[in-house]
């Protein structure tokens, strides 16, 4: 419909069959709106909510199979009597990961993204409604296994944690720099396999630093337990800092 005259012709072509005294050149409307604005708004709201509850929130990202769920299971079994956890599981189809988490006795909720390759802030906002935030210290979010898209979507987390397993090769940070740049923490997992691979840990560390000089790096094995204590200590310290922040 032409909004100037209210006539019902749909296309410009047909429109000019009748006479008008106004012209039908298009109007230009300035928009200047960020395409991720909606996600970013919801993420900001999530962040306010988490902060108000003194909740430490981590968003775990990686390629499929790097060991995110195993890292969560191991961490929960070690610390669940000491800290109060909840886990949001992002998965395209299955509920396998959420079932694995639930088996540790920690509350878990599954978000099925269907064809979606990442979680967004809206999904997380509804996902956390399943938990009692007043009685939590740490919210762990396992994102969909994908090193590309999750980098662009803020969920309102305190930090992104990128998990890299050494079977993937040391050059992953150079190939997927967005994801490694977006992460404050990089976990190099499966170091129990070092003797069996020609993975160069030094080189890998260097690559991570090139992409993200500030990244905090943990090298560990969920299988052998090597390096896990440093990760646990870091978690404890973060929770303590978060509590203090919420009280002040």
């Amino acid at each position: 419909m032409c909004i100037d005259c209210g006539c019902s012709e749909r296309t410009g072509q047909a429109h000019h069959h009748h006479d008008h005294d106004h012209d039908h050149d298009g109007r230009t409307i300035r928009v200047e709106e960020n395409l991720l604005a909606k996600n970013d708004r919801l993420a900001a709201a999530n962040r306010v909510r988490f902060t108000r509850h003194g909740l430490l929130t981590l968003n775990l990202v990686s390629s499929p199979g790097s060991g995110k769920t195993t890292l969560l299971e191991t961490t929960l079994r070690a610390l669940k009597d000491e800290l109060r956890f909840a886990v949001l599981e992002g998965d395209q189809q299955t509920s396998n990961d959420a079932d694995r988490i639930a088996a540790t006795g920690v509350p878990a909720h599954q978000i099925n993204t269907g064809a979606g390759c990442h979680l967004d802030a809206h999904m997380v906002a509804h996902g956390v409604d399943h938990f009692d935030l007043d009685n939590l210290d740490v919210l762990l979010i396992e994102n969909v296994g994908n090193l590309v898209c999750p980098a662009s979507f803020d969920l309102g987390e305190d930090s992104k944690v990128t998990v890299l397993s050494i079977t993937e090769g040391e050059d992953k940070p150079l190939k997927y720099p967005q994801m490694f740049r977006a992460a404050a923490i990089v976990i190099v997992n499966k170091i129990d396999l070092l003797p069996h691979l020609d993975f160069d840990l030094d080189q890998c560390r260097q690559f991570i630093r090139q992409v993200n000089p500030q990244a905090r790096i943990f090298e560990l094995s969920c299988r052998s337990g090597a390096g896990m204590d440093a990760w646990y200590d870091w978690l404890r310290a973060q929770v303590a800092a978060k509590r203090q922040q919420a009280q002040s």
């Binding site: 419909m1 032409c2 909004i3 749909r10 296309t11 410009g12 039908h24 298009g26 109007r27 230009t28 409307i29 300035r30 928009v31 200047e32 709106e33 960020n34 395409l35 991720l36 604005a37 909606k38 979606g116 390759c117 990442h118 967004d120 590309v148 898209c149 980098a151 662009s152 979507f153 150079l174 720099p177 967005q178 630093r209 090139q210 992409v211 993200n212 000089p213 500030q214």
Partner: protein, 113 residues
């Protein structure tokens, strides 16, 4: 492939804005996509026809303006052209180049009948 979602927001924002300004048919929509944004313009173009079908944007022209990457060295402050795979300062070799431009992902303007 989050370009589908990105394209969906182009259509959503454009429709909402057009309605707010009295409605009409969108002739063209101009978006800015930074080369460091992680979004591939070709993929957005590919998704646009599907996403705009049955909306005020059906048949509209999608104009994509790409914004080249520009970075600044945290050490020596040199400004330089960068892409996603530029890790070191071309002047002093320092890492951690700050992104000054190139992460844009915005809808700029609409032309409405």
């Amino acid at each position: 492939m989050h370009e589908l979602g990105i394209t969906q927001s182009i259509v959503d924002i454009a429709e909402r804005t057009t309605r707010k300004h009295g409605g009409g048919r969108v002739r063209s929509v101009t978006v800015e996509i930074g080369e460091l944004s992680g979004v591939i313009p070709d993929a957005v173009e590919f998704c646009f026809e599907v996403c705009s079908k049955g909306t005020l944007l059906e048949g509209a022209r999608l104009v994509i303006e790409t914004v080249p990457g520009q970075g600044r060295c945290p050490q020596c402050q040199t400004e330089q052209a960068i892409d996603n795979y530029s890790f070191a300062c071309e002047n002093c070799g320092a890492f951690g180049l700050e992104r000054v431009r190139g992460e844009e992902l915005r809808i700029k303007e609409l032309e409405v009948d």
